[in-house]
């Protein structure tokens, strides 16, 4: 039986909620790098190191403590797990060497696999980004953007294109984007094989 009920906190007049470890165990078992959470000592360095701290509903520290508290819904439907941009500030500073970035990505994958869509936008972008990598072995900025915009539907897509027009022109001007389509890398088929294998191992795919 997975359902382990620990001591009841606040039994002296408190809420008296049972401490449920089943979700923590689910994470340790199924989430890539999930077990590393055990090392967390709740210092809060990750939370304050994150460049997206103002956008996150829960800081990584809070996510870890919610996992330990068995708050499955809150964690898997949180915005935070989809927001990580892999800047690695938290991972570098973590005094317990928790690979925070890997855990956040692991949780995002797991949430999507479980049918949660915490941030449809981010998931859509991830999908198109991944599609590009899979087809070309590299990113074609205008192609990703176009597919992402049109993923919102035709009307909304055109609106988004107009909104981002100046950025596109800027990128062309500074040669961060080509006018002509990008060509696939050499031997892109081998790359696809690798990506397929990774996906089969549960280590890849779009977030």
């Amino acid at each position: 039986m997975d359902q382990v009920v620990g001591p009841k906190y606040g039994s002296r007049g408190g809420a008296g909620k049972a401490y449920n470890q089943s979700f923590a165990r689910e994470v340790y078992r199924n989430v890539d790098s999930g077990e590393e959470i055990k090392m967390c000592m709740q210092c809060g360095v990750c939370a304050a190191s994150c460049p997206l701290k103002e956008k996150m509903d829960f800081s990584p520290r809070k996510i870890f403590t919610l996992i330990r508290a068995g708050q499955r819904e809150k964690v898997l439907s949180s915005q935070a797990i989809m927001l990580c941009t892999s800047c690695y500030s938290c991972k570098v500073r973590c005094p317990r060497k928790v690979p925070v970035v890997d855990v956040m990505h692991g949780l995002a994958h797991y949430a999507l696999r479980q049918g949660y869509k915490p941030r449809a936008e981010t998931a859509l972008f991830g999908q198109k980004f991944w599609g590009n990598i899979y087809r070309l072995g590299r990113i074609d900025e205008k192609d990703v953007a176009l597919r992402y915009f049109l993923g919102h539907g035709l009307g909304q897509g055109i609106k988004l294109m107009m909104e981002n027009k100046n950025m596109g022109i800027g990128m062309l001007w500074y040669k961060r984007m080509k006018i002509l389509p990008e060509r696939p890398i050499k031997n892109v088929k081998s790359l696809r094989k690798m990506l397929d294998k990774a996906k089969a191992m549960g280590k890849g795919g779009a977030v």
């Binding site: 210092c43 809060g44 360095v45 939370a47 800081s59 005094p95 060497k97």
Partner: protein, 418 residues
């Protein structure tokens, strides 16, 4: 010099002095080898002890007096052990001394320093001020004898100090010396170094003038320190109104020192009382992961935290930035009790850096067992060379005095056994 019944003590700080005095007072000859030009070690640099908040001078003075009055204690300053050979009961030790350039005729009159044209960074005050190249390490230095810093002195080309010295105490041609000793046992009490705060990149030590370390804070508060005991921040000598202490600065951190130094929480609590005592309007903040005040020291924690102008915040600070206009510091973290983000602006930051054993960098020139962090391990099979004090574990002064007494006993056993 020396004999098989004598004991070598390496390090003349609180541990070394204690071992030396304990062994000498039961009738064994001891030789202290000290790297600095003075005895007393890091205790001499403290302003107050916790939990009693009394000055360390009186305890040190008693130990100096016992050292001076014991015919069985001799010591070398500016000296380091270079080589050890032999075994328990019979060691040959080579000691190298650096020239002091001032002999024991010195009366401490300060005339040499008055005329000396060269300045040097004052290492006793952790570089917070300067002394002349001819200087007295600190007001209560033992031996009470000036010293000339050979690395900056102009030598015979200048020699102004030689002219003014009325006691023929200055000899600019003094040379390094090599001394060989025969001893029966060795106590290694080389002490500790504060963890190098420059390595904590997100805290800006060395980059922002008003980020200092806890050992510097002791000097800043000491009456014989660079500011005569006023807490003036380094950038503009302004009296501080808001001071933040950051705990575990490099401690309990897998990227730096993985262990807890055990004393820094108490030291910061103590230093927060300095801030409050010297300026009743000042505010102090202590940012911590956990406050570790063990045993009876918890009473001190309970007492200090009563102060309404001391805020204890459970958060490891992630980043310090400087406001370039005011040189104030902005701290960012997450209060892990309220869950709220912290953004606090303060006048000065004190990093509570931990203790690294001297043997993390310079090993004993003989076979000795260390743990993963370079502390000497007490090994029952390791006879003849014994660690004492902070070379074995991070500890407070009371702890090292007990440990050094134990080390003295083991050293005595080593010389008596044969």
């Amino acid at each position: 010099m020396g004999d098989k019944k004598s004991i070598l003590i390496v390090g003349g700080g609180m541990s070394g002095l204690t071992s030396a005095i304990e062994a000498a007072e039961v009738g064994f000859d001891v030789v202290i080898v000290e790297k600095n030009p003075y005895l007393g070690g890091r205790v001499a640099q403290l302003y107050q002890y916790f939990p009693k908040l009394c000055p360390p001078n009186c305890g040190l003075e008693i130990n100096f007096k016992r050292t001076k009055s014991s015919p069985r204690i001799s010591f070398y300053t500016l000296a380091e052990v270079e080589q050890i050979s032999g075994e328990e009961g019979n060691y040959q030790v080579t000691i190298k001394t650096k020239p002091r350039f001032i002999n024991d005729q010195c009366t401490g009159c300060n005339k040499c320093a008055e005329v000396c044209p060269v300045e040097r960074s004052n290492d006793f005050n952790y570089g917070l001020d300067k002394t002349k190249a001819a200087y007295l390490p600190y007001a209560m230095a033992f031996p009470m004898q000036y010293v000339i810093d050979g690395s900056v002195c102009h030598g015979k080309a200048c020699a102004k100090c030689v002219e003014v010295c009325n006691y023929q105490a200055i000899d600019l041609e003094m040379q390094p010396e090599t001394i060989t000793l025969n001893v029966g046992a060795i106590v290694w009490a080389a002490g500790w170094n504060p963890y190098d705060a420059v390595k904590l990149e997100n805290y800006g030590f060395g980059q922002y003038a008003n980020v200092i370390t806890n050992v510097m804070m002791e000097r800043l508060c000491a009456d014989n320190g660079p500011t005569q005991g006023k807490i003036l921040r380094p950038s503009d000598q302004k009296e501080v109104e808001k001071v933040a202490f950051i705990q575990c600065a490099g401690s309990r951190d897998e990227n730096h020192l993985a262990y807890c130094s055990g004393i820094c929480c108490l030291a910061s609590l103590k230093q927060s009382t300095y801030v409050r005592e010297k300026n009743p309007n000042a505010q102090a903040f202590i940012y911590f992961i956990d406050i570790r005040a063990q045993g009876k020291l918890e009473d001190f924690f309970v007492k200090v935290k009563q102060d309404e102008k001391l805020s204890l915040v459970k958060s490891k600070i992630a980043l310090i930035t400087e406001d370039p206009a005011t040189k104030n510091l902005i701290l960012e973290g997450e209060d892990t009790q309220s869950g709220e983000r912290i953004r606090e602006t303060v006048d000065m930051v004190v990093l509570a850096t931990g203790m690294e054993p001297a043997t993390a960098t310079v090993k004993v020139p003989a076979e000795v067992a260390y743990d993963d962090y370079g502390f000497i391990v007490s090994d029952q099979d390791q006879k003849g060379i014994y660690g004492a004090g902070c070379i074995k574990r991070p500890a407070d002064v009371a702890g090292v005095v007990q440990d050094a007494t134990g080390a003295a006993l083991r050293a005595i056993q080593s010389v008596v056994r044969r």
